[in-house]
Symmetry: C2
Subunit: 96 residues, 2 copies
């Protein structure tokens, strides 16, 4: 394959990267909203059952080529970052 | 907010999770193709300059709420998994 073909694949990859970026930020916004709902409802932010359900749904819908263990690992990192952003919100609220 | 509202937000989050899942798999397929092009072109799979460029593009396009350092960390995990899937391909090719 030529360098032109490599460049075309890379352009496509960059587009997919930016779509993933927008979606993980959309996910973060939703997670923040959920965190706020839980604050008013007196619920804990970290919910292992809910996390397990999300991971199961991801496993059921994984068509590859990534192995299910790989995508679950990546999502656990995303969940962790989302939880941290909720906790930051809470810290800022306490400082007001 | 009510439990119904929490459930609605969670449904939305599940939909976003599945969109992210499809995109990271689409990304993995593209990375595999790029790996194959590089094999025929005699290039190294890991390319720190290309990775830096991708991280810069992500930083330029990050609208939050995630911090740029957070999204870059998440993408580094995705890059790592993509490199591993390319290496698996290579190992399988060597075993044929």
């Amino acid at each position: 394959m030529s360098n032109e073909q490599l460049d075309a694949l890379r352009d496509e990859l960059d587009k997919v990267n930016l779509q993933i970026l927008d979606l993980i930020n959309e996910r973060a916004s939703l997670a923040k909203k959920i965190g706020q709902v839980k604050d008013t409802g007196g619920k804990n932010r970290f919910d292992p059952v809910r996390e397990r359900n999300m991971l199961d749904l991801i496993a059921e819908n994984n068509k590859g080529p990534f192995e299910t263990s790989t995508v679950q690992h990546l999502f656990k990192q995303i969940f962790k970052a989302s939880l941290e952003i909720q906790e930051d919100d809470n810290r800022k609220a306490l400082l007001v």
